[in-house]
Symmetry: C2
Subunit: 586 residues, 2 copies
């Protein structure tokens, strides 16, 4: 049978007979004539059910309800004068039906499909198969397909090999967030679902495949944020005999092609910014560069001020930074600013000092206490003009960046500073090799312990050692990250030592992986892109569930299948496990 | 850096300077000159390490061992007169090296990489990353990539959407072979890894996506045969508004393209054979049609014979069938035939009667006891000639088919009747709707309970009801199967009733799935191909591990990662489970 795309009928097709299939999106009953918008995945065609043409089948037509699945045969005709619908791609034509058949009836719907109203998410997820009929979700899922096709086309063309790595893997000792799978054959043992194919893809380089990619399912059992899912998809790449430049260029060309294929836009070359600069200017390692309002430094200006709140911080090695809300000072009342103060406290700031500049004068508590010449220096340095609001945080760099970085985004949303049509890519480079873990009171790998340092000689300089690691940022989201890996066992040994990992521990944790590098491992590096997030941004949605056919809730449940669920005692017995839940479990 | 493919250098490139990378496949030390076969994934290039050109680097050259990873710079030159190697694609040229750098040294290897000798599989799997360097495995993995690329290209072109379905799914009550995953958030509950995306792909049809595909990981925790893996990959397809014809044509065109792209062969249209005929002629629902030697019926010829061994079987509704080993009777001694008798007993046959025809006479025990005219009728009916061997089994059809079907394959291998260059596709159609389970003493679905019967009126006729189900067979392997699904809840209710599944049970087992069909489900059907097996056949290997980068053993272990493995008590505690293994576990 030949299935036409309902959304593709045009005036040139008029005069011919067609058999069409689809769903009753909406029907309008005019007595002897019923108009039906017949929907399929390609769009909508108006079909006309006329008593005169349908004869006996008109009785069938009268029983039609929304979401009935039907087959109709008839002649495509130009719509009458003035009856064309310019909002519909097929608006100039309609099918005059002569035969009608109901393929499938539809019960009372839990919600309308033809309109995208806000319904309880629990209901829409339970009936996900109906929610997916909505135009918005049909579009995101189709766009996702377009994006993965475009990615594959590019990578295949560049000689990358799509190689599958296992889902039933080994749990790593850091694997606190591993999903594990009991083994029936080896009772008491467990597989782990991979958090990423990192180990396998590097081994594929050791095997000499040179260019690998995979659109890979990954799993992380962590408490979920709005844009996280327990299973997520990664565009995973690895290349041998490459520098950072090669990996970044390859990724950049890939993303340019994807945006061109999906949005028809030519993206300019991606700017690059070292991690340190990104933190200083945007208070973030994934800055949204679609708007300015950068973090401005006041440390030097305020050094030696009589105001202890600043001077003490500076004397103790802290910094003072501000955001200047240009020409929007009047939008923020004193109580609004208090709300902003509460907001920055979430990020550990002790307070938010502020200044308003109006009628060529600084106002606010600070203005009274701060030296005249410091105020004047601020004004001239940062070109502060009337109706500007200056918001200041003084603290350790970490807190200042976190607080002002978050505040910057909040203000941009409130003030509508973001051009939603922009796609601002940015490379953030030269990530630190280590980061200090407050909870463990020690330095840990910032990326992972297989990341190549920019200079091996600096490995003992925890605060300043940088890595050949790079993130790709899009509109303030980290959409991917990667690094050049260590391929030399001697360098790896030094890194483990610096991280406080003993030889025995390293062997136990990564034994087979470390061993592999003894057998002529090539220099290599790679990158992984978060597919879900990339699709999300390119589809212009902020809800990750919109781009996944069957997503899970924030409590990692699938409301449609009702998973996870109980299993039988026999199943557990055969797997050699039993349930051991304490009273106070959720 | 520009990485050339070592295997692609040709005479036309001679005279130019190149930087090349790769592994020392083999080296020949001639004193002041060392020849190295430099391997990468594209092939091999001979590089010449000459003391005169290398100067100080020659010391480095002298330290080279097999599988060192190196970088070499020099001039590509035509090899000297008579020194070209016709077995190498780059055999006319060689690189005269002027700079040499060792990128990575290689420890003592557990086995040679340059030769594909038979090594202990446990060793090769433990060092899988080295085994994968071998030409044979490089080729299978690259062919797999080519096959999946070809598949995607075809399906994308036909308007199929690649849609991901979840890996963390719900355990079904039949899920005895499900891998399950304990949930941390919902302690005491479990996800299951999907045995196939069947449920989800049908729901995608309910959602109106019309054409779906996915190259999907599937999981089955069963005792493994040689060509099975606990995780395997399926080319999964589903289409709406289609007939069997549409699904089969689409699959056929897909497979033709794949074979053309990968082997350069134009496969003719696939023959079709109903299940019943396949069983009768080949004793198998996946006949290897690369050779003849079909099962021939003797039931009518032997009806009423004085030989009770046949007559009793026939009177009781059994059948008698034979294989005729043409012109090879002399290859089977009496004791060889006894071995064949032992073989058919594995399949439940009580014995194997035999006749030899030689010097225009039948020989053997049977020949003495069987009526002359029956022998003569056999001879003329099946054109038995000198040096033919007739092997006969009399039993229930089930046993006769199983025994002779297996014997047919065994004989073909022994007698070398199979042309290994052939690719014989075959559609087996009209599968039975039900099959009788001896263990459960009841009829079960042959395919799955959502399969559409050919005639709804026949649903109560357990023995004769056939289904809109089809398998695709290649060289005697089932490489895929599918069906038209039931989209009408009323038909589904009848099928459940016939299968003895109560409404409550159906609701409990498939609740959300059955519900979905109440909301205007389109007619639909689909098919899944086993990717691993398809690649295996197209690569000409009989070992499924050859086509999987990181395969598992028959005890479902990954010897490289050492998975499955122990996990910590904290991990188990957080998941709300504990190990409960009895003494007698393996």
């Amino acid at each position: 049978m030949k299935k036409y795309n309902n959304g593709e009928f045009r005036l040139k097709d008029a005069g011919n007979y067609f058999e069409v299939y689809g769903w009753v999106n909406k029907r309008r009953d005019m007595g002897g004539v019923i108009f039906v918008d017949l929907r399929d995945r390609s769009g909508m065609l108006q079909i006309v059910l006329n008593r005169d043409f349908l004869k006996d089948d008109f009785k069938v037509a009268e029983t039609l309800k929304n979401e009935y699945c039907i087959k109709a045969y008839g002649k495509l005709e130009k719509r009458g004068e003035g009856l064309a619908n310019p909002n519909l791609s097929t608006g100039e034509v309609e099918l005059i039906v002569e035969n009608l058949e109901i393929l499938s009836e539809c019960d009372i719907l839990p919600f309308n499909v033809y309109e995208d109203t806000n319904i309880n998410e629990n209901i829409s997820l339970k009936y996900r198969y109906l929610d997916l009929r909505k135009e918005r979700l049909q579009n995101t899922i189709m766009t996702r397909h377009k994006i993965t096709s475009s990615i594959r086309e590019y990578l295949n063309g560049e000689g990358f090999l799509d190689i599958e790595t296992p889902i039933l893997c080994k749990s790593t000792p850091e694997g606190a967030r591993d999903y594990i799978v009991p083994s029936r054959i080896n009772k008491g043992s467990f597989y782990a679902l991979p958090q990423s194919p990192q180990i396998c893809k590097q081994l594929l380089m050791v095997s000499g495949f040179e260019k690998y990619y995979q659109i890979a399912k990954c799993f992380r059992d962590e408490d979920l944020r709005a844009d996280r899912q327990p299973e997520f998809t990664q565009i995973d790449m690895e290349m041998s005999f490459v520098t950072e430049e090669d990996v970044m260029n390859n990724t950049e060309n890939l993303l340019k092609k994807v945006v061109k294929d999906v949005k028809g836009i030519d993206v300019p070359d991606f700017p690059r910014m070292p991690y340190k600069e990104a933190m200083e200017r945007y208070g973030s390692d994934k800055p949204d560069t679609r708007f300015e309002m950068e973090l401005l430094d006041l440390t030097e200006i305020l050094r030696g001020t009589q105001m202890n709140v600043f001077n003490n911080v500076i004397s103790n090695g802290g910094i003072v930074k501000c955001l200047i809300v240009k020409n929007n000072g009047d939008k923020y009342s004193r109580s609004d600013v208090e709300h902003l103060t509460d907001f920055v406290k979430i990020y550990g700031a002790k307070g938010l000092a502020w200044l308003k500049y109006d009628n060529d004068t600084f106002n606010g508590v600070i203005a009274k206490n701060l030296e005249e010449e410091k105020l004047e220096l601020m004004r001239t340095t940062y070109n502060i003009t009337n109706n500007d609001l200056v918001l200041i945080v003084a603290d350790t760099p970490k807190i200042v960046y976190a607080a002002l970085g978050a505040l910057r985004l909040k203000l941009a949303k409130e003030l509508n500073l973001i051009d939603e049509n922009k796609l601002n890519f940015l490379w953030v480079t030269e990530f630190p090799m280590y980061e200090y873990s407050e909870s463990e009171k020690r330095y840990k790998s910032c990326h992972h312990p297989f990341t190549m340092p920019i200079s091996v000689d600096k490995l003992s300089d925890y605060e300043n050692c940088t890595a050949k690691a790079y993130d790709i940022v899009l509109n303030g989201y980290e959409v991917g990250g990667g690094s050049i890996r260590i391929h030399d066992p001697k360098v790896q040994a030094i890194v483990f030592k610096e991280l406080g990992i003993s030889d025995e521990e390293a062997q136990k944790k990564f034994g087979f992986f470390i061993d592999a590098f003894k057998f002529g491992a090539p220099p290599h590096g790679g990158l992984a892109l978060g597919l879900d997030r990339l699709v999300m941004i390119l589809c212009g949605t902020e809800n990750i569930k919109d781009v996944i056919a069957f997503p899970k809730t924030q409590s990692a449940s699938d409301l449609m299948m009702e998973a996870p669920s109980e299993v039988t005692l026999e199943q557990l017995k055969e797997l050699g496990i039993k349930i051991d839940v304490e009273e106070d479990n959720e």
